[in-house]
């Protein structure tokens, strides 16, 4: 039986056209890097963002400081001061905001609904990212006025982690997040590189404990959240693992690469030059929430996971995946010259950090290597 000519030609037309689509959606990384770093320092609508999730108001600052730090380290000496000044504005503002409004300012409402299990009752989400911001600033250029603040928080993080049966501190009452704990470990590593302090032992112990208790049994990916005693609440999730793998590069590179490879295998999707990321491995029950963002039907694409996948792809030098993710952003993110309309302030900052990633992590690792050699 012969197929009708129309059907054959439709098939040919599809084969001819679809592979060409990605050629029209190539992101100009240099322009985006510059534009997004600028935009991230001027959030468009903080009130609207806080109404959805106050954590985003905080995380925007962290990723903006990291992007500015990376830009400062790669910029000519005469341009560095501008980036450093912008880092200082962000850090001073976050410290002043926390001082004025209390330590729950950047937490979701249930953060103060019941007591923390740890006696110091601090959120490692807040402390970890503040130490990371100050450490980034210190790695670019010393600012002695902030050292006591970072030291105080670093010591609190270490105490809370060592007291915990999982060696993980709480972000919310009896709720530990891998994202936050690996961020705290990376922040301590950066702080060590900047100041000569030493938290290597804590990092090694955390990774050993995580290998025992925090890996998803099917995929081997670090679970996303768990109680302080280690009861899993959320399994492997894209909104957690891409960032966690990037953080772990400063703690245990082999483990970090293994986690990235697993995430890539279980969560990434590539198709005709485009790429995106799923929030959950296939076959896992879906529970869309504020972290995953809306899930695109049929494609199973998650905005949250795809944004953080950019961080992972950039940190691990996965150029093909990074190109694919950016092509998808160009196609479905609606570029507006300085970023994407389909993004928000925290998304802009995450993308800025992804596209600038490199110099800060390299400096942190180089100083650590030099210290170990001594």
């Amino acid at each position: 039986m012969r197929a009708p000519r129309s059907v054959v030609l439709l098939f040919v037309a599809t084969l001819l056209w679809l592979p060409q689509v990605q050629r029209f959606h190539h992101a100009d990384r240099a322009r985006l890097r510059e534009a997004l770093t600028e935009r991230a320092t001027r959030p468009r609508d903080v009130a609207a963002m806080r109404a959805v999730n106050p954590e985003w108001d905080f995380m925007r600052r962290t990723f903006t400081v990291l992007a500015l730090g990376d830009r400062a380290l790669s910029a000519p000496a005469d341009a560095r001061a501008r980036y450093v000044a912008a880092m200082d504005r962000e850090i001073d503002d976050v410290l002043a905001t926390e001082a004025a409004h209390g330590k729950s300012r950047f937490l979701l409402g249930y953060g103060s609904a019941r007591p923390f299990v740890d006696p110091e009752a601090r959120s490692v989400f807040v402390d970890g990212e503040i130490v990371m911001m100050i450490a980034a600033r210190e790695l670019v250029a010393p600012r002695p006025a902030l050292r006591a603040e970072a030291d105080r928080r670093a010591e609190a993080i270490e105490r809370a982690m060592r007291r915990s049966p999982t060696l993980s501190a709480e972000s919310y009452p009896d709720e530990c997040w891998t994202f936050c704990n690996t961020t705290a470990l990376a922040a301590l590593s950066m702080w060590d590189a900047a100041t000569g302090s030493d938290h290597d032992d804590l990092g090694r112990a955390w990774v050993a404990r995580a290998r025992e208790r925090l890996l998803d049994t099917r995929t081997g990916i670090l679970v996303s959240s768990f109680t302080r005693d280690g009861v899993v609440r959320d399994g492997a999730e894209g909104s957690s693992i891409w960032m966690s793998a990037r953080n772990l590069l400063l703690v245990d590179e082999a483990f970090a690469r293994d986690q990235y490879a697993r995430a890539r295998r279980e969560l990434s999707v590539t198709f005709l030059g485009f790429a995106w990321a799923r929030e959950w491995p296939q076959g896992t029950p879906r529970r869309p929430d504020v972290d995953s963002g809306p899930i695109v039907p049929l494609l199973d694409a998650s905005a949250g996971s795809s944004a953080f996948a950019l961080l992972g792809a950039s940190a691990f030098g996965d150029e093909a995946y990074l190109d694919g993710l950016l092509a998808s952003a160009e196609l479905a993110g609606f570029p507006d010259g300085a970023g994407y309309r389909a993004s928000n302030d925290v998304g802009d900052a995450v993308l800025a950090s992804a596209l600038t990633h490199g110099p800060l992590w390299a400096r942190a690792r180089a100083r650590r290597v030099a210290e170990v050699a001594r």
Binding site: R5, S6, L9, L10, V12, A13, T14, L16, W17, L18, V21, F24, D45, A48, M49, V52, N53, V290, G293, P294, V296, A303, G304, L331, A332, G333, F334, R341, A342, S343, N344, G347
Partner: protein, 91 residues
Amino acid sequence: MTLRRMAVATAGVVLAARAALWALGLEAHTCVLAGMPLDASSWVLGPLVVAIQLATWTVAPILLCWAALDRAAGILGTRVLRRSSEPAPRS
């Protein structure tokens, strides 16, 4: 209406819809993808804008490409038929 004309018309409708989205500034509603709708209508308009954008880059060009191929095949087919029906030249 021939199949080819229907294909071209469909592609035209998709392209016109895309142009209308741009002219009306409806692309701003795609921020719903990041979990931040402009207003309640974003939950409908955001996905609709994305669907039309995807159709603009896939369905419309494929239909136009198919129409062009179909037209070319039609012309070639007519010529071949005409030649095959012509009497063989006398030697």
